[in-house]
Symmetry: C2
Subunit: 251 residues, 2 copies
């Protein structure tokens, strides 16, 4: 068999991990866990490409990644690949699907948009069954004010003020297709759809919208923050446990 390109969709509870990106030989990253298993499975070192890096503590319900199965790795069916990986992965990482795709497919470069969900518990205590996948704010949120603040951020803008990127020559312009705010009981969820997000961008926007919702900031101030490009004018970086990479879309 010749070399094949395999696309997988993954789910993980990021609570125990130092994020997606492999760091040396550590086994505390999602990428590291996956690559170690793929090496065991194929007998070759395999590099896995994620659609993007998730930070330490951030979860995923639909992270997408791809890797090359070397020509000499044997004839694995898609189902066998998924079953093998799931058998050796810990129970906080799961492969939801595996499919052979054209060799030119790249999970990051070909992603057309991503959906992130930030979940906030406004009650003083989270449901014990959801507690790991929520940020417990413990205060009421004015959803209308959050929506008003969010309205300044949709569209194409320079999001420099809403990122933790160090000085860089790379563009900080991104497009947010939509930010919608959903209420489910005492939980408020902010759903972001966009073509790419800067480092910490979803968490900083979430923190800023939370400040608008609690009344700690005027919704209008967001417009000014955007224009200023100054990180210190934006809100706090909302904690990772509330964030879930929901889905990666491809055309």
């Amino acid at each position: 068999m010749s070399e094949r390109n395999i696309k997988i969709i993954l789910e993980y509870d990021g609570g125990r991990y130092d994020g997606w990106q492999r760091q040396g030989n550590t086994d505390r990253t999602i990428q590291g866990k996956l690559e170690n298993i793929l090496e065991k499975m194929t007998g070759y070192p395999v590099e896995i490409h994620g659609s993007g890096r998730t930070d330490a503590g951030v979860h995923a319900k639909g992270q997408t990644a791809n890797f090359r199965l070397p020509a000499g790795a044997g004839s694995w069916t898609e189902e066998e690949i998924m079953d093998y990986m799931n058998r050796y992965l810990p129970d906080d990482i799961a492969v939801l699907s595996a499919a052979e795709v054209p060799l030119k497919f790249h999970s990051r470069l070909n992603a057309s948009s991503k959906i992130y969900r930030y979940r906030i518990e406004t009650a003083k205590k989270a449901s014990v069954f959801e507690r790991r996948y929520l940020y417990v704010l413990g205060k009421k949120l004015d959803v209308a004010k959050m929506e008003q603040a969010a309205s300044f951020l949709t569209g194409t803008h320079d999001f420099k003020a809403f990122s933790s990127v160090k000085r860089t020559k790379k563009s900080t312009i991104r497009t947010i297709e939509s930010i919608s705010i959903e209420k489910r009981g005492t939980i408020v969820e902010i759903v972001f759809t966009g073509n790419g997000f800067l480092y910490n961008m979803v968490r900083i926007i979430s923190g800023t919208l939370i400040e608008a919702g609690t009344g700690d900031r005027e919704p209008d101030s967001v417009c000014e923050v955007l224009r200023s490009g100054k990180r210190e004018l934006a809100g706090f970086t909302a904690p990772p446990e509330g964030l879930i990479l929901e889905k990666v879309l491809y055309n």
Copy 2:
């Protein structure tokens, strides 16, 4: 203020605990955790009565309990009681409500029925977000066969064969009002409603119904097991992580 009787509804993730019932001075029981906090709150030793004991590892979404707030404990409102307890409880135990009830109310003696849910993942791997609250069977289940087996168990019977009670003079007759089997994607859930359950009864019935569902046992065999009164003829004790005490009903 005179002595008051407080009813609370509780949620817990039983994963870390040795079950409901206090064991000496250990802090690894739900009852122990609650009583320690109530003693701190009131300045008096307080005994808390649960509607029933849950085993080590079993979860609850609607456990009900009551305790006496001593006359000298100060004037706590229902909300203050709930907030105080939630502040000091770990994040895997939560008080959902607290209400003053007549002094004669007893959460166990007055319970008219209880609802338990046993959750089974038939896929090879559980969703990472649900993994702690499911039994991962990893095999297909024939729901119709499970329903057929369950039909022999509803009504009033001597459930001795379906319990781990040691020789006792107490009655092993109980009434199961209903057993319904629900399918949600790859998850099969068995919902029990009854007026009381013997030690390990829900888990042994669940194990027996699982055996009927996988084809390891004829659904009809359940009738025989019931008549025999022999524990060794019933199925395995399904593991605790799949079991949730859903609700306790009072007339």
